[in-house]
Symmetry: C2
Subunit: 307 residues, 2 copies
């Protein structure tokens, strides 16, 4: 795939210039720090595979219920699926070796099965990433979260980065592809370029982090940059270190449409199972901590595990 | 593959009982905490693919010069290979996407090319691990360091663990296979069982750690357990957190025959390029810190990166 990096940079610059003049509108519309909440009874078409923040959204609609540690057991995966069904989370997110089990356990439910590809280093061969994605799809994965070729991003080898994403998109055969860019290890310009490339290569989401990198996980700034770079065309998933409602709400306010976390059950306990007053919540995510009914937004929770 | 776990356990118990009665002999021989240094002019056959601690060994002979971080660039891989040639390290250890480059750069040298498979979580499918190993071999890898199915070890699903290793051994087509068991996340019994299984499945090495796990890296105790479980038939590689000579010497004294580290150049500066007085060094690894010529054994060095 030939990539017009100059063209991408020019468009990003134009969008930056435009965004600078747009006020923050918590009730919807465009803009850098605004969630693209669809207006009521919107007839606007939604791109395939992308879950926007909907009217009447529940916190569970944002959650990829995530268990990616190496030592996760069969029993823990079973518990994850039971919780996801009970809470009606958007998806579970597990390592590839557990996809078949999740596919059995979640048969007939609305919960999607997400898995990870080339995870968490992104430094396996494109051919292997593609084969891993194809096998995951055969095993029942609805969504594949691939790690981009981080070393090639840092080397400036954008042709490799683009071809690598393209290979996975092709072998995912229409399933949702999320491209993890490990934003904490990238410069802002690298975040913008990688996000724009993911869009050009046909992915449906860009995702901040693996949750395994020493540099850290999601930041609101990275989410906002990624949302800017992909516009309204893709989803943005914030993951890595999102352990409480306040952080999750900040990510959503910055443009995230999916949250990867192992703390989804606690968040749903805190924010409830019903539709969220998103306009109010997103206008002041900081204020939530004081109102939190269950105490999961306390610092004790923040000290917990990130994935 | 059918695994006789009871038989393995019985043999381990017998070896434990025997080891208990064996004195520590730093000049060679068997025993729990003893390096299997071959006697001078030994004609004893050495198992294929296993590098024992030889007479006249240099510290460089132990070193897998390692660069596995996600954001490693082409330039850093080139530097790694140049250093490995200069120091005559045992091997470089890189992510699969860099094997072809290393193969070009190290053509004609004695430095082996090691890469990692299913790294660092070990939770990809056996079929994908096998394909990744086969591709790495086609690209010029001499050694493949695979991560075992850690979650299945913790689930007690030993049949899966064994079949997973066997699949990689088969597709590695005679190349050296090292099985990473992430010992810091395992119980002692799990370490023994996983090591014994790796031997049964045809691997040439067991390896302590990925260097990426929150529970930590190599410990001398884990190395000794692994050496015990595999006897003299396999190599043992200590990796993860081995950043100075003192720690490296402790690992060798406990049974390690290879050290995975990014600090190999500093270790060679400290211990020199010539044959080591291993008997003396291993009798008292603690004493080395005081004698260290370059200061790399100071606490400042120990605060450095582990991989």
């Amino acid at each position: 795939m030939t990539v017009d990096l100059n063209g991408l940079a020019r468009r990003v610059a134009e969008e930056l210039a435009r965004a600078d003049q747009m006020p923050y509108r918590p009730d919807g519309g465009g803009g850098l720090a605004t969630v693209p909440i669809a207006p009521k009874h919107s007839k606007a078409p939604v791109a395939a595979g992308v879950t926007y923040v909907r009217d009447q959204a529940r916190i569970a609609d944002f959650i990829d219920h995530t268990l990616l540690k190496a030592e996760a057991t069969r029993g823990e995966v079973e518990k994850l699926c039971a919780e996801a069904k009970d809470q009606r989370f958007a998806a579970v997110c597990v390592n590839p070796v557990w996809v078949t089990l999740c596919s059995d356990l979640l048969a007939g439910s609305q919960v999607k099965i997400a898995t990870v590809i080339g995870f968490p280093l992104g430094a396996s061969h494109s051919e292997i990433k593609a084969a891993e994605a194809a096998l995951a799809v055969r095993h029942g994965a609805d969504e594949v979260d691939m790690v981009a070729a981080i070393g090639h991003i840092k080397s400036g080898d954008w042709q490799h980065v683009a071809a690598d994403i393209g290979a996975v998109v092709k072998s995912a055969a229409g399933r949702v592809v999320k491209v993890i860019i490990e934003s904490a290890a990238l410069s802002p310009v690298e975040i913008i370029k990688a996000s724009a490339l993911a869009r050009e290569a046909g992915a449906q989401y860009v995702k901040t982090s693996t949750g395994f990198h020493a540099a850290g996980g999601a930041s609101a700034e990275a989410v906002a940059l990624m949302r800017l770079a992909v516009g309204d065309a893709l989803g943005v998933k914030a993951s890595g270190g999102v352990r409480d409602c306040e952080t999750a709400l900040k990510m959503i306010a910055s443009g995230a449409t999916r949250i990867g976390t192992s703390s989804g059950v606690a968040m749903a306990q805190c924010l409830g199972r019903g539709p969220l007053p998103l306009g109010e919540l997103l206008a002041g995510p900081d204020r939530h901590a004081g109102q939190c009914a269950t105490g999961v937004c306390s610092s004790a929770e923040k000290a917990g595990q990130s994935y």
